[in-house]
């Protein structure tokens, strides 16, 4: 009945953890370093100031093999002095969004098909040049993953993703 003690495996489902931190020097390194040191895998990490410039929000998508590992992550992060709160919002009512810029290979022959995908996913074309197109897509992580799978066959030249950010629905704070 021992707790999971091999944190290094990258299996497990993704959890979105929202961390409010004081906007002090080094705080990002502290949180990110802790994840690395304890062997927790981060899929993505998005950081920016909140409406209060003294406070930043870090939204991390982490993989945890089980509930115990996730609790460990939250407790360890919660111990950092600059951390104000840590909340795991997996399975809660949240609005989740991520933005991706995708540069795909495309020419006259398949441009129409690509544009059709863009329409279905409510994405946007933000740049077109000879042989390539840059698409902007916003949505939950799964939606972006689905679109990327479809675009894959045309050849994705480059991509940049912001990492997921979330806010709790209703009056409950994130």
């Amino acid at each position: 009945m021992s707790a999971h003690n091999s944190n290094t495996e990258c299996s497990g489902r993704p959890h979105t953890v929202s961390v409010l931190v004081e906007n002090r020097p080094g705080v990002l390194t502290r949180v990110a370093g802790l994840f690395a040191r304890r062997g927790y895998n981060i899929d993505s990490l998005a950081v920016a100031a909140t409406s209060d410039p003294a406070i930043s929000r870090m939204t991390a998508v982490v993989r945890a093999a089980d509930e115990m590992v996730l609790q460990q992550i939250c407790k360890q992060v919660g111990k950092l002095v600059d951390v104000i709160s840590v909340n795991d919002h997996t399975d809660e009512a949240v609005v989740a969004r991520e933005l991706a810029l995708v540069k795909v290979n495309c020419d006259e022959n398949n441009r129409a098909e690509v544009i059709q995908i863009i329409t279905v996913f409510r994405a946007r074309t933000v740049d077109i040049a000879d042989g390539e197109m840059v698409i902007e897509v916003t949505g939950a992580r799964e939606k972006i993953d689905a679109m990327l799978r479809l675009l894959d066959k045309y050849g994705i030249l480059e991509m940049a993703r912001t990492g997921e950010v979330i806010l709790a629905r209703g009056l409950q704070p994130t």
């Binding site: 009945m1 021992s2 707790a3 003690n5 020097p25 080094g26 390194t29 502290r30 370093g33 802790l34 040191r37 115990m68 609790q71 460990q72 407790k75 360890q76 919660g78 111990k79 950092l80 002095v81």
Partner: protein, 567 residues
Amino acid sequence: MNGAEAILQCLKSEGVEVVFGYPGGQVIPLYDALHKVDIRHVLVRNEQGAAFMAGGYARATGKVGVAFATSGPGATNLVTGIADAHMDSIPVVFITGQVPHPMIGRDSFQEADVTGITLPIVKHSYLVQTVEELPWVLHEAFHIARSGRPGPVLVDVPKDIQVAKLTVPLEVASERLRGPSSGLDIDSAQLDAAAEVINASAQPTLYVGGGSLNAAAELRAFAEKTGIPVTWTLMGKGAFPEDHPLSVGMLGMHGAAYANYAITRCDTMIVLGARFDDRVTGKLATFNPEARVVHIDIDAAELGKNRIPTAPVQGDVAAALRALTVRCEPRDRSAWAKRVTDWKESFPLVAHKAMDTGEIRPQHLLDKLTQATAGRAIVATDVGQHQMWTAQFYHPAEPRLFLTSGGLGTMGFGLPAAIGAWFACPEKEVWLVTGDGSIQMNIQELAVAVIEKVPLRIMLINNGYLGMVRQWQELFFERNYSETWLHTVPNGSEVISPDFCRLMEAYGGQARRVTADADVEAAIDWAREVDGPVLLEFVVHEEENVWPMVPAGGDTGKPILEPEGGE
């Protein structure tokens, strides 16, 4: 007042009486201001010495220790001591100089990113940005170091801040200080659940860790009311009187076999301020997986880190035990206690006396030390076999008398830690038990002992080897004593270096070499009588091993016992 003076005033108001440190370019303003306040400064010989002295001071008292170092190499020399304090949850505030702000990030002379280097091994750290925040930073640093689960805090102060004029008050409202709050209320539902598990148990064992050192009275009251046998970790040694009828022994790799039996065969383990360290549990999966676990710790992250508790209790061990003593009923556990006592009689820890030749066996030395001091002396150790023999055979009468580097296992800890402990408790007798390997890691601090007239007694157990590593080589690497023989034999002739007694005398202390068991007692008596630092070099049987032993990753319930005939 400038920033440097403000630092010292803040230390003063935090109750600091002594600081261990070493000057350098980026702390000259701090040292310039030093003698304007009534704080004693101990000039060490290597910053690592300062870190361990501050750690020894904190371990002996529970109060916050303080160390100073300059930027760059001064700061990096602290690193081992910071890591050591981190692993053992020791409250120390480290104050380092840094190059002036405009020079940071330019690879300036003696610039090192010490906040970056130490990030994983501090409880918290600061790179001070403005002189105005200095008082707040310092007060918060002390608060964080000592509150909740204690630990090291680093404050890196650029030189321009030390010389800048301070215009804000030195006092800081306590509401502004972040960090764990000390008077944390314990959830009564958790206490009820824990009491229920304990009351239902016929065969429980207490597993007492370093987080229990402030809870000795509460532990005793709880154990006596409930009749539960007490085992402890290396760090928990001293929390419970070892001559008490309920006292069992130390757990883990070199713990007593009967203590390991008592923890691995109990139906419920009650874990107090301990963390299921691998040196105690061996292989986690075989560490009494059926037992129910009541785990009390002030650090929520320890509850479920290595072992899922049946009943977790987050809170201070002393407060939790007070509440549990009320909730737990006395119960006849004498049958279980008797089983434990039987193990104790069948598988005793043996403090071997002499070899037939009269050669000294090291265990005997520690036995003699307990007898001579009645367990009232502070005994610091280094790391290795001598550390384990001390843990097995020195019986401290109270908490905070046995000082050892547990989590990091740092050779070189002992000498400076013993010196630091004496500055904290100058009225106490202080001993260092060390090895011929370990003492050479910070031997330069002998100068501090001599100059500061520290009446330190050193028991140097000279076995010619890096003994603990040699033991592993003997047992697990077919006696391939690769690089563990300290008297290297380059061309067939043995070279003994250094001559520890003459070295001690060169530093200005007194020394005696003892080679016969018959002379041990007289030597210890002599050392207890002379003034100032004294070194006893005991030349002992070289290939002595520490028994019993649970090999790394092994089954704690099945320790390897000493081979028949005492080897």
